[in-house]
């Protein structure tokens, strides 16, 4: 996917002025937050689970190579195949060639964020195939020709009216012209259209929430059942997953599943939790003839053991997005690449380069709510701060900020000089405020004063006033 992360600031400003987007974000409101809280309140062992889940992931990451090889062996034993892709290009080449082997003209897709990461739809289209998204949210944004704006609710930026209009535009040629006034009507129409696509597709591609090493299974959670139809109706099922999705055992997977849905949507469990283990066996009534798993690295092995290691624990629940005040204000598209919100602000610079996304780690108040709700205890603000350290080292910080910080730092380590200068500045600002208590314009402070008054200093600094008071007390005592 092409990135527009470089223009984050402009993207964000436009997003704030986009009334449709703001309305959609408003409607989404605190829904996810309230539902998550209710789910966690009903789960007394939440902290224990969280701790166990973290240990499972850390253990797996410490032996990632072993577990991935075990997973591969199990997939082979089950009659499937595993393909290893280091780069997005390698991954799309593998998948395009698998689809070609299946003579696929039409390819159904379950939701896969890694697919977005590697630009899968573009690659399939370039190869003359038609990818059809079957997750309702993904289907909507495919019709709108937009990228997802949320990792679990890709069309959260769209209002119902916008969706109705889109359906009208695209479904009229299918003879579907009935008015869509309710959500069930929208869902039913999408279902009707997609049912035909499921039957026609020669290959189906799904993502994976987990890979289980001991069984060679891939696990997919959905609420629509589209994943099952994508996986089992076509002759060829291709699973695409990033390498950190593997866990050792089925038991381990259940721990993470208990956290995943609760953190994401506040559900105890999603409507469908599907385990795909190899192609159709002789005794199976349904299922694909061929089962492939494409494992994607795309920079993840570089993260093993480095400062961003803990990010590999991420289970893509989206809780950090839902609780982020910046994400809630501007939505996902402003971030400019596949992954938005706090997890995206950590991942994007790692995947497309910090110089391509310098604003992402900076556009955070470090309010810490993301880390607080992260079921995998990822210290997201610390990781964002690490990006900021790196940005400084790579001279990626603007001259104005650098100068301001440098002069502040210069003074702050010279307390006597600092006290003398600061006391003059505060007295000057107090004088300029002429007793009104605030300033409406201050040189070099446009970022503040364009929307806020600046409370004026009360006069001399505390330290100066304190010193005077102490001297007076001393004199009085003498």
């Amino acid at each position: 996917m092409k990135s527009s992360s470089l223009t984050f600031r402009k993207n964000a400003e436009q997003a704030l002025l986009d009334t449709q987007l703001q309305r959609a974000l408003d409607i989404a409101g605190s829904g996810f937050i309230d539902k998550r809280r209710a789910a966690m309140d009903a789960l007394p062992e939440y902290e224990q689970l969280r701790h166990t889940a973290r240990e499972i992931k850390e253990h797996t990451l410490s032996r990632l190579d072993e577990y991935l090889l075990q997973f591969e062996q199990q997939v082979l034993d089950n009659g499937g195949q595993v393909h290893w892709a280091g780069t997005p290009k390698q991954a799309t080449d593998i998948i395009v060639s698998l689809c070609r082997d299946a003579n696929a003209g039409k390819v159904t897709k379950g939701k896969t964020m890694v697919g977005e990461e590697i630009g899968l739809n573009e690659a399939l289209q370039a190869a003359g195939m038609t990818p059809v998204e079957t997750d309702l949210g993904e289907y909507i944004i495919q019709l709108a020709d937009e990228p997802p704006s949320h990792i679990i609710a890709p069309a959260i930026h769209k209002t119902r009216e916008q969706i109705t209009t889109l359906f009208k535009q695209h479904h009229a040629r299918l003879g579907l012209t009935q008015p869509l006034e309710t959500v069930p009507a929208i869902v039913n129409e999408a279902r009707q259209v997609l049912r035909e696509e499921f039957i026609q597709a020669e290959a189906g591609i799904t993502g994976a929430n987990l890979l289980i090493a001991e069984t060679g299974s891939t696990v997919l959670v959905t609420n629509e059942g589209n994943g099952d139809l994508t996986a089992s109706l076509p002759r060829v099922h291709i699973v695409i997953a990033s390498i950190e999705k593997v866990v050792p055992t089925l038991e381990d997977a259940t721990v993470i599943l208990r956290l995943l849905a609760r953190s994401a949507t506040g559900q105890e469990i999603t409507s469908y939790t599907s385990f795909f283990t190899g192609p159709k066996r002789e005794t199976d009534l349904d299922g694909p003839d061929h089962f492939h798993v494409v494992l994607v690295d795309n920079g993840r092995t570089d993260m093993l053991g480095n400062e961003y290691h803990s990010m590999l624990r991420c289970i893509h629940c989206g809780a950090c997005l839902n609780h982020c005040p910046v994400y809630s204000a501007i939505g996902g598209h402003a971030y400019g690449w596949v992954y938005p919100g706090p997890m995206g602000a950590v991942l994007t610079p790692l995947m497309i380069g910090l110089s391509q996304a310098p604003d992402l780690p900076q556009a955070s108040t470090f309010c810490g709510r993301c880390a607080e709700v992260c079921p995998m205890s990822i210290p997201l603000p610390d990781l964002l701060r690490q990006h900021r350290f790196n940005l400084t080292e790579q001279h990626g910080v603007k001259l104005k900020s650098r100068l301001a910080l440098a002069s502040w730092g210069f003074l702050a380590v010279r307390p006597r000089l600092y006290r003398w200068i600061m006391n003059r500045i505060t007295c000057l600002l107090h004088w300029v405020s002429r007793g009104r208590g605030r300033l409406q314009k201050v040189p070099f402070a446009g970022g503040w004063t364009q929307s806020r008054d600046l409370p004026a200093p009360q006069g001399e600094t505390f330290i100066a006033a304190w010193q005077r008071q102490q001297a007076r007390r001393k004199a009085d005592n003498e």
Binding site: M422, P455, T461
Partner: protein, 251 residues
């Protein structure tokens, strides 16, 4: 008990009355207050803007200044979080300073938490005629786990009624330099906060962090809303008769 007051740079520069209110409260609670004069800034602006070198230099200076005291009190959750939570991490690889920072962290307290948790002090000599609401700063709430302490103290003030702000866990949009680097996003966040403050029905806003307060006040005053703003220490010390933050001195 001898207590060192780390007043924070924002209080020092913009609102010295908060420092005096903190001194008064601590003295009321029976403490002897000292103000180390070599204090400037905890280094958080550098730390959060990626300038680790400057942050380390400032952190070392603060450690040198405060290490000799047994109790250090800070009228800010944000600077308190810096000393308690971030210094040990920031200085962990610095010879000598790593262990000193870890030790110092255990001796640093945010003001309301020190009064309630350590001194068990709540016999305040203060009255406030108005409906207050309390804004939780993100660092007080999430880095230091402070929520009940300021509410407990405010509840002991004569005439005080405390209205809660809806969505009190959400950030006001200050974020240090965030608010000047991304003013549009920050304004949206502070607008949400100000709306919730209005809805609470309170006529006075208090908080324990001057950063949040300057931001929220700045917006309140720009919008011309009739809401007074004080640092929680000023109200608790009975020093909230004068003009609130950002208010005309003749009021």
């Amino acid at each position: 008990m001898r207590v060192a007051l780390f007043v924070t740079c924002l209080v020092d520069l913009v609102r010295p009355s908060v420092g005096f209110a903190a001194v008064k409260l601590l003295e009321q609670a029976g403490c002897e207050v000292v103000v180390p004069l070599a204090q400037t800034c905890c280094g958080q602006p550098a730390y959060n803007n990626g300038d680790k070198k400057t942050a380390v230099r400032l952190a070392r200076q603060v450690v040198d200044t405060l290490y000799i005291y047994d109790h250090i009190v800070i009228p800010s959750g944000s600077c308190g979080g810096m000393l308690k939570v971030h210094y040990p991490e920031l200085l962990k690889d610095e010879p000598d300073y790593g262990s000193k920072a870890a030790e110092l962290a255990g001796r640093c307290y945010e003001l309301t938490s020190f009064l309630v948790d350590v001194l068990k002090f709540d016999s305040l000599d203060a009255a406030y005629d108005g409906q207050l609401t309390y804004h939780d700063s993100c660092s007080s709430l999430r880095e230091l786990g402070i929520k009940q302490q300021p509410r407990h103290l405010l509840g002991n003030i004569n005439g005080c009624q405390l209205n809660e702000i809806a969505d009190t866990e959400s950030c006001c949009g200050f974020g240090g330099t965030f608010c000047v680097k991304y003013p549009a996003i920050s304004t949206r966040m502070v607008d949400d906060k100000v709306n919730n403050i209005k809805k609470s029905g309170a006529d006075t806003l208090v908080a324990a962090d001057l950063g949040c307060l300057l931001n929220i006040t700045g917006r309140i005053k720009r919008l011309g809303l009739p809401i007074k703003v004080f640092h929680v220490a000023e109200v608790l010390a009975g020093m909230a008769q004068g003009p609130g933050i950002g208010e005309d001195e003749s009021t």
